[in-house]
Subunit: 202 residues, 2 copies
Amino acid sequence: MESTAPTRKPGRPLSFDRQAALGQAMLTFWRHGYETTSISDLTAAMGITAPSLYTAFGDKQQLFLESIRLYATAPEDLQHQFDQAPNAQSAARAMLYAAVHGFTGEFTPRGCLLASATASGSSASQAVQHAVAAIRQDIIARLTARIAQDITSGALPPATNAAALAAMVVAVIQGMSVLARDGSTRESLLGIADCALTCWPV
Amino acid sequence: MESTAPTRKPGRPLSFDRQAALGQAMLTFWRHGYETTSISDLTAAMGITAPSLYTAFGDKQQLFLESIRLYATAPEDLQHQFDQAPNAQSAARAMLYAAVHGFTGEFTPRGCLLASATASGSSASQAVQHAVAAIRQDIIARLTARIAQDITSGALPPATNAAALAAMVVAVIQGMSVLARDGSTRESLLGIADCALTCWPV
DNA sequence: CCTAATTCATAATGGTCACTATGAATTATC
DNA sequence: GATAATTCATAGTGACCATTATGAATTAGG
């Protein structure tokens, strides 16, 4: 890990900010979905032409996969938050509140990119659907493990169904995305999050 | 309301079963979404040609609106179920279990047509997105009223947040649709439903 | 049977889709 | 400055999109 030198490759460099363009692409996919966003939509939002897009990002699918990596919290960061949380319920509360906040931001599309962008699609987009599903399953698995940790430490009763609890939290988050898109207010979604947290065993 | 006579209009009659074709269209929208289903997909599934589709159903949007009317329980039927239920929690439990069953049927697509078909889309499909959102808001409103009824009758504590509870149930249902599409089993979803029901006030 | 009305199958409409061939322009290395 | 490598803008590729024009086929009512 000594390479702080970018060692720019020969040839004409990109004439635009790649990261800024990726951010605009992510917002466009977030607003309109994967298959229902056209290359024209993307180039308009990114301020570049189609050949530039293909040179810098490969194709539409690779651009989307890079967009969801930009959108989603990195798995190691999420794990770190879970490890730092005083207990599993705190971790779940933080996730729920962060979701509500992110789904109702003033300067971003409503809802969750992961929940809506590939919620439906032709069989041609199975690859991206699986990629998004894998992120959700990873979150559920890590939250399940964090709950199991509380059960082992005695912070939660032994009869607690860790997997069901974790999946319920993620289901509420994905469901709140739907309601956020329908127009639900931030306060309304916070009520849902608090309500879901009351089913936590004592 | 005396017209039980179909009074067939003059001209050549439809050569196919309109209701059966509508059912196939509904299944196709359910599986692949609204904008991500093409007229070709529909005519192939329905076993008719494009002009027949347009003659019998108008256009793609009208066919979709008719499909969701076929899919969703009629509002008056849902209201009847809520009225018949011994209490609001029973009504919610019935909804949750019916959702789990419907989202994991052996002979139907996974998940919820309402949750996935218009979860994302271009601005050209705002009309159908609003139509689907209206169905969800109607369900939330009726469930909220049913919960309020229990509060009035003393079956639920006065501090109960009826709107949040109802919205949470619908959020869980829409979130379970996402997980069902990801491949979650029926048993896993039942665990989520039971978990969500434990946050019901006593 | 004749006329009006409707649906049928065939084929085509203009538009948009994701993607790319082309050659000029810009950069690093020699 | 010459060469190699890369991106640039322009323009276009065939395929598919939702929709429909056309004329033959089929029905009801007169």
